[in-house]
């Protein structure tokens, strides 16, 4: 009986491919280098799928569908990567069709941030909490987002919904890679936290144990800020971290005002800070969210780490199969 799903998470460096059960549990996964150029990358995607099936002794007949999580601007309805900055030659590429042809398994294509959000819904913290409505913020180099509403991804009418990192939270603020200023991701991403710490160290003479880090490494990361705030009780680091959490809370509140989810999930590299992140963001959400309704949405940390994308892609394949929407 075909009750397994392949999830393929295509990244700029690696392809992570796994087999996922109907209940969202990951059976096993492999990681292979992405390669260069569409033919090579697609070949590696197909090979990685065969590799994980071989490793788990799963026959193709047991695989009901596949899901691909891809970066870039997509046309998910037609399974096309319109453009992906990190993947050479990925321009108007019918990625889903090509992978399907290579494996003989129908599937779906979804953007990586949405797939990761759906992963936490389908097999992670959203499943544990039993929710149908959630918003996920991925805190890494940038801030990614995904919105699940009544058990489904909000994709939008042009496949660009949930670009939560680009809501403006500081008019005229820090310039963003998108060409505008004051976007959430320039304040609340892991990179932004490090960048803001460095800028603040350089523009003041305030004492801080982070100065040793800057002198030694030539840079300060969000992990440094967390360590020096939480463990070394450095006031400067603590203020930087506090601001980061407060900016993130502003973004969360604006999202609460849009789709009113049951759960806000924080994901991505910065989640390593654990409760030191979660509790502070929660505190500021409570402070910022007006009390027409009590603050009912929970705020939690993601649990799937780097597996979220492939588990979500597999989950979306399962959902598409149920709805008769596999391609």
């Amino acid at each position: 009986m075909a009750d397994l799903y392949l999830g393929i998470d295509l990244g700029g460096t690696n392809i992570k491919t796994g087999l996922v059960r109907e209940d969202g549990k990951l059976l096993d996964a492999v990681s292979v280098p992405t390669g260069k150029g569409p033919d090579s990358v697609i070949g590696n995607m197909v090979a990685s799928a065969k590799q994980v099936m071989g490793k788990t002794r799963v026959d193709k007949a047991q695989v009901a569908a596949l899901g691909i999580a891809s970066p870039g601007a997509l046309d998910t309805v037609h399974g096309i990567v319109k453009m992906a900055g990190n993947l050479e030659g990925f321009i108007n590429l019918p990625l889903l069709e090509r992978v399907r042809a290579g494996l003989g398994i129908p599937g779906v294509l979804e953007n990586d941030a949405n797939a990761a959000a759906f992963g936490e819904y389908f097999g992670g913290i959203g499943k544990t909490k039993g929710v149908k409505d959630m918003v996920l913020f991925t805190l890494g180099t940038g801030v990614g987002g995904g919105i699940i509403y009544q058990g489904e991804l909000i994709r939008g009418s042009h496949d660009v919904a949930a670009e939560l990192g680009h809501m403006v939270i500081q008019p005229g603020g820090i310039p963003c890679t998108c060409g505008r200023r004051g976007c959430l991701e320039r304040y609340a991403s892991a990179s932004a936290c490090g960048d803001r710490a460095m800028a603040a160290l350089q523009s003041s003479k305030e004492p801080s144990t982070l100065r040793e880090v800057l002198a030694k490494n030539g840079a300060v990361t969000s992990a440094d800020v967390v360590y020096h705030a939480e463990t070394r009780h450095d006031a400067f680091a603590d203020r930087l971290w506090d601001e980061t959490c407060r900016f993130l809370a502003m973004g969360c509140v604006t999202s609460l005002y849009h789709t009113d989810p049951e759960l806000i999930v924080l994901a991505g590299g910065m989640v390593k800070a654990g409760e030191f992140l979660r509790a502070r963001v929660e505190k500021y959400i409570k402070e910022l969210y007006f009390d027409l309704a009590p603050m009912q949405a929970g705020i939690v940390l993601a649990v799937l780490g780097n597996d979220a994308g492939l588990i979500g892609a597999a989950g979306l394949a399962r959902q598409a199969r149920e709805k008769g929407k596999l391609r």
Copy 2:
């Protein structure tokens, strides 16, 4: 054949009740004073419905369902007004059940801002444009919102979705009635435009023809700002208006980043400014919206005026009937 729908828009001052066809066209409507206290208000709602049926010679058997648009905090699933500041005694009131009992017609209850948004979708500009995904901003005393996604209202998991007036667009900015600072409605509502103009006149000596208005009327409204900017070419008024439109555009962009609609609709009193509002907001949206995708969403003015709420309530009754969700 029952193919008509009653829409009842309950306001703090008046109740507007109309009969709406399946295609969203308003047959006729009446307006009666709201009255005071639940019994009186509910009596007036029932009487207004009978009045419009009498006026149009429509028999109860022709009315398939009714929709009520109400202010306040609601439990739409159970048809209950939990609390409505403008309506004395409306505390945990089973409004839908009471009106249904008075008329013998099943129905639905929805908050007024959502109903107005659904009205433009079902019988107004959204219908004309043939869209399924839209976001509506109502610009009046505050800024209200409604989000339609794939032909349905996004209500949220606690019935408080689309509170778009309270997204923070200016951290630490102007205090809002919600207890926080920097909310969109303190910058982009009709009242906020007038308030900001008065504050700016009082804190500067810059010449402006608006000073005559302030001296004569003791206040400046958004309509004054528009008139003096557009017709009298007053530089001060023009700058105030420009800022208002730019703040509103920021809110629109943040909404685009959430649900990626096909259409943004501007509604409420400030829409009287017409193209002078629409074109400026559009200009700033184009400037602020990053070009991962071209700016594809249209930005348009609402067309139903004060009828939007009752038409939307009727439309929601129709939708609930189709889904077998009438109560």
